[in-house]
């Protein structure tokens, strides 16, 4: 067992990046996630592992620094919160289009606009449906604990490199700011340039006589070729959907009703399940861990067994659309949500369930 530490979610992300052997972090401060860059600055990662840390002049610049370094096969990440992630979307689209691996953390706050600095889950659409322009998807991981904030850095990087696709950790202000026990992993070495050249032959590391020049681009002026490329992306997303769906089931086996919730909401709902069971209501919770790919198939299976499904989100109802698509009207699907930075209580979720179904 590794060392146990008490950490904020944002700090866990930063420590995990160093320990996972990341090559760089480029970011711009924004509440409620500035602890990520502050923690890194205090840790002096250049001293610890040689990891580069840079506070950029904007979110635009930081995501494009990520693009440049990722294009050279480096393991790099950035983080922000909702308004900042909107600014990063241009770069994320280019990164997806150039098929580069990277990790982006969004510690979501309520919107639209400048909104609030309180926790929210209102960026689900933006994260799972593309976010920027063009046909693409991110791999989206939704941690529900500080430990998962830590663990998903490694997982996110692994998936990003496996599929040459940007990965996102979709968190929120509550998980970013709260502290929990975290088991810290071993320090992994950063990859050497030789290892990068062998493992990622596409990377711009300098043209050597043994290969053609490498070009990192998302531009293709020939429509026929562009469509072929789009088809390749579609095929990649299909493979991801086949292989990378992750979810957790809590008391689902005998459930009459099912809650679907991720991140902070799932923690609330776990308590709702406990309360409902005490009252004799057979309630279960399906927690998607990957939001893209979404556990549609598993939900479709439950559609045959349960009497009703309620999606609980800190939004006006975004994930509920994916739940509905998954169950294809075979069972009643409802949404319960709070917005504006309000976190629902376990009691009100139970109340809502009773109102909608019982």
């Amino acid at each position: 067992m590794g060392e146990l530490k008490l950490m904020k979610g944002n700090e866990a992300i930063a420590e995990a990046a160093i320990r996972d052997g990341a090559d760089g972090y480029f970011g711009y401060p924004i509440t409620p996630q500035s602890e990520v860059i502050e923690y890194l600055a205090a840790q002096q990662p250049e001293e610890r592992t040689g990891m580069v840390l840079l506070q950029a002049e904007s979110e635009l610049a930081s995501i494009n620094m990520i693009y440049g370094a990722a294009g050279s096969g480096k393991k790099v990440m950035t983080s922000s919160s909702s308004p900042g992630v909107s600014l990063k979307q241009e770069g994320i689209s280019y990164i997806a289009g150039a098929e580069l691996p990277c990790l982006v953390l969004n510690v979501v706050r309520g919107g639209p606009g400048l909104g609030t600095i309180q926790p929210s889950q209102s960026d689900y659409f933006q994260s799972t449906k593309g976010g920027g322009h063009g046909d693409y998807h991110l791999i989206v991981l939704a941690p529900a604990s500080v430990q998962e904030m830590y663990d998903f850095v490694e997982l996110g990087f692994d998936l990003a490199f496996k599929y040459r696709n940007p990965a996102m950790i979709l968190s929120d202000g509550a998980i970013g700011q709260m502290m929990e026990k975290v088991e810290i992993g071993e320090q992994k070495p950063r990859m050497t340039e030789q290892q990068i050249k062998e493992k990622y032959p596409w990377a711009t590391t300098g043209k050597t006589p043994d290969r053609e020049r490498n070009i990192i681009t998302s531009l293709e002026l020939d429509s026929a070729k562009m469509e072929k490329f789009n088809e390749k992306l579609v095929e990649k997303y299909r493979t991801i959907k086949e292989n990378e769906v992750r979810y957790e089931e809590i008391q689902c086996e005998d459930a009459d009703y099912l809650l679907v919730a991720y991140g902070t909401s799932s923690r609330i709902c776990e308590k709702t399940v406990e309360m409902a069971r005490q009252e004799g209501i057979k309630l279960g919770l399906l927690r998607p861990i990957t939001l893209f790919p979404f556990p549609s198939q598993r939900l479709a299976e439950y559609a045959q067994k349960v009497k009703g499904i309620m999606s609980v989100e800190m939004s006006s109802g975004q994930m509920v659309e994916d739940v509905k698509l998954a169950v294809e009207s075979r069972v009643q699907v409802e949404h319960y949500g709070r917005m504006g930075g309000i976190v629902p209580s376990a009691e009100e979720v139970l109340q809502a369930l009773k109102q909608k179904f019982l």
């Binding site: 008490l6 700011q177 709260m178 929990e180 026990k181 923690r267 609330i268 776990e270």
Partner: protein
């Protein structure tokens, strides 16, 4: 065992760090912990609060509205959280600056005048440790030596020379906490 605590007072009273020490002590004792600082407009009024859960089992929601124990260190927090204590639960408060003392009779009420004591000890910064000592005297959520270890873990090493004075404050807290009234359990 699961203990749900709110610690509420002014910013600068060491509310958040007291919660952190409790959590570290819990970790040392092999428990699950969560520490959730206050979210909401009340933070802007200069008040600070943190809810801490220490449990033998996996903790579901870190965001809770009812508490087994409330530690209340100013009047605003008294007004806000007195009614959030579960019946039969504990309310521990510092009388300094309190104009309306707790009124509920279905909870156990204790008073620890830590501010006055810290001033007398001429170590005003150990105020929160006196409160912590009081809490552990009334509710031994974590063992005393684990609390000291938690203190060590949560303090950066450059402050480790302050551990003895904080340890002393914790012990002082165990001595000065007073019972105001026991909960009346309705038959």
């Amino acid at each position: 065992m699961s203990e749900e605590i709110i610690i509420a007072g002014f910013g600068g009273q060491g509310v958040l760090s007291m919660g952190k020490i409790l959590c570290y002590a819990g970790i040392v004792q092999g428990k699950e912990v969560t520490w959730m600082p206050s979210y909401g407009p009340e933070m802007r009024g200069g008040t600070a609060n943190v809810s801490v859960i220490i449990s033998d089992e996996r903790i579901s929601s870190p965001i809770i509205s009812e508490f087994d124990t409330a530690i209340i260190l100013n009047q605003q927090s008294m007004d806000k959280f007195e009614n959030s204590v579960k019946p039969g639960g504990y309310l521990i408060y510092d009388g300094n600056g309190i104009t309306r003392h707790p009124e509920r009779t279905d909870i156990n009420v204790y008073r620890v005048d830590a501010a006055a004591e810290a001033a007398q000890m001429e170590t005003t910064k150990t105020f929160n440790m006196i409160v912590l000592g009081g809490l552990l005297q009334v509710k031994p959520i974590v063992e005393m030596d684990k609390a000291i270890e938690g203190l060590k873990k949560s303090l950066p090493e450059r402050y480790h020379h302050l551990i003895p004075v904080n340890e002393k404050a914790i012990h002082r807290g165990t001595q000065i906490i007073q019972e105001v009234r026991k909960a009346k359990v309705e038959a």
